[in-house]
């Protein structure tokens, strides 16, 4: 089974985003960038499907291709995935921050070329917080989707996916090919070992341009402005529970 894993380069999750003074966006100059945390979880699961870790049979995945759409430095993100155990990478270079619809169209074109049996990806990028591309890719391909996966079992060309939903968990079964988006509880991604980081340097990354895929990536949304949210100021420290209860009563919260 061939697995395609789309990975995005985003602001590191430990960094607090700051809005630019001219309200055109978030200031990313000199900010630490990393692989979107959900995409790390997707890469980890793909590698486990190959290695036969946890409940997966060894060799469930035979080839793992990672693809990123973004600036040239997104090669580093792809390298990280290769060091975790992915086999090769594709970078579709774009300096523009493409919208989910455009990303989904490009990924659909990559799927048409690569013909994977499974696309495993993050449920949400932590910069745009869209939670959209996976569902959109599934729609464009007319494939089944299983979003917010907390457990994945693959056997006999079928994926059984336990999903995090409101109120608990839901399990779906989908014939492959399918798109699965992963949630936090699926696994804990590994840190790449030094030997694997060295090995990853020799793995292939194909460099592509958006134009190579002939899809319409025009923006549908115009960002009018990006502003800072209203800030909350710290309140007071109270001495004990009795004082807290009296303050809450005065404030009308109880």
């Amino acid at each position: 089974m061939k697995v395609l894993v789309p990975v995005k380069r985003v602001i590191d999750y430990n960094v607090k985003a700051r809005v630019k003074a001219d309200q055109t966006g978030v200031d990313l100059a000199n900010v630490k960038m990393s692989m979107n945390p959900f995409d790390e979880i997707a890469v980890e699961e793909a590698v486990r499907l190959k290695e036969g870790k946890e409940h997966h049979a060894a060799g469930t995945a035979t080839e793992i291709v990672v693809v990123s759409i973004g600036v040239t430095q997104a090669q580093e993100t792809i390298r990280t995935a290769l060091a975790m155990g992915a086999d090769r990478g594709i970078l579709i270079q774009s300096d523009a921050d493409l919208e989910p619809l455009a990303v989904a169209k490009l990924l659909a074109a990559v799927v048409a070329e690569e013909k994977p049996d499974l696309v495993l990806m993050g449920k949400q990028s932590i910069d745009g917080d869209n939670n959209a591309v996976g569902q959109m890719l599934a729609a464009l391909l007319d494939w089944p989707q299983a979003t917010f996966a907390a457990k994945i079992e693959i056997a006999g060309g079928t994926a059984n996916v336990t999903r995090e939903v409101d109120g608990g968990n839901q399990t779906l079964s989908a014939a492959l090919p399918a798109v699965i988006t992963v949630d936090l509880r699926l696994n804990t991604p590994r840190y790449a070992s030094l030997p694997n980081i060295m090995k990853a340097k020799k793995k292939e990354i194909a460099m592509k341009a958006v134009a190579d895929y002939g899809v319409d990536t025009a923006d549908r949304l115009t960002v009018v402005k990006v502003t800072a949210p209203p800030t909350r100021s710290a309140g007071i420290k109270v001495a004990d529970a009795a004082e807290l209860v009296s303050k809450l009563k005065t404030a009308g919260a109880l």
Partner: protein
Amino acid sequence: MAVLVIADHDGSAVRDSTNKTVTAALALSSDVDILVVGSAAKAAADAAAKIAGVRKVLLAESGELGHQLAEAVTATVVALAGGYDAILSPASMDGKNFMPRIAAKLDVAPISDIIEVVSADTFVRPIYAGNALETVRSSDAKKVITVRPTAFAPAAEGGSAPVESVAGSDAGKAAFVGEEMVKSDRPELGAAKIVVSGGRALGSAEEFHAVIEPLADKLGAAVGASRAAVDAGYAPNDYQVGQTGKVVAPGLYIAVGISGAIQHLAGMKDSKIIVAINKDADAPIFQVADFGIVGDYKTVVPELMAALG
């Protein structure tokens, strides 16, 4: 301009998030219809018909729709989309699951998790875990939007819209196998007036039950948790409050043994009053707390229970 709101419901009643989404829809147009999709959801459709300001309720039923499976919901909605300029749903887990699929089928850019309607084509939504607010203008002829319920007041009851049956698709690509739902008599997390949340500090599921739940029950509150508490198995996944979990904005939010990471704050910082109980005086949660108690929850929570009487 006509707007279709896809209801969030449990088969017999609509959730409060549906009323809130109707409020967002009414900011776009006065022609608002509600679509209820389900397997046996007539009662929910009748409940939706009572929301004030609604023009009519469409009821689409099929076996596949009972579990809100994305493929069947999408086929149902796309068949109706011709009559609407905007399609809205609450940003529930179901809404987040099917709305982007609907958008892609309609070749539209979805707009996720809006907190404000500026005009018929311009919306505000949080990005970067709520550390920035993005105002976007859509050039799509049809808008596909999920609405953050905590940002809108619920539309009032008192309407009497007609209920009409429409075709419900059973086009299934993925099949429902089973579900495990957490049963609770407590108020729903997203709609509760008070939320008590526990973090990693609790240390075990037993301790979470023994400390967080009695406090919540005393206050008639819903129970929430940090990601760390959920990951460690102290609380079900559905309790996670944050950027990638539930967003809550109750009148009172009590965080017990939660540090206040960016991702957690994203889910609760719009609460009216925030209380933090944490033994570390420098924990970031105190930067957003109206009232903080520096101390060990093991002594503070019992004292609080006693003080509440």
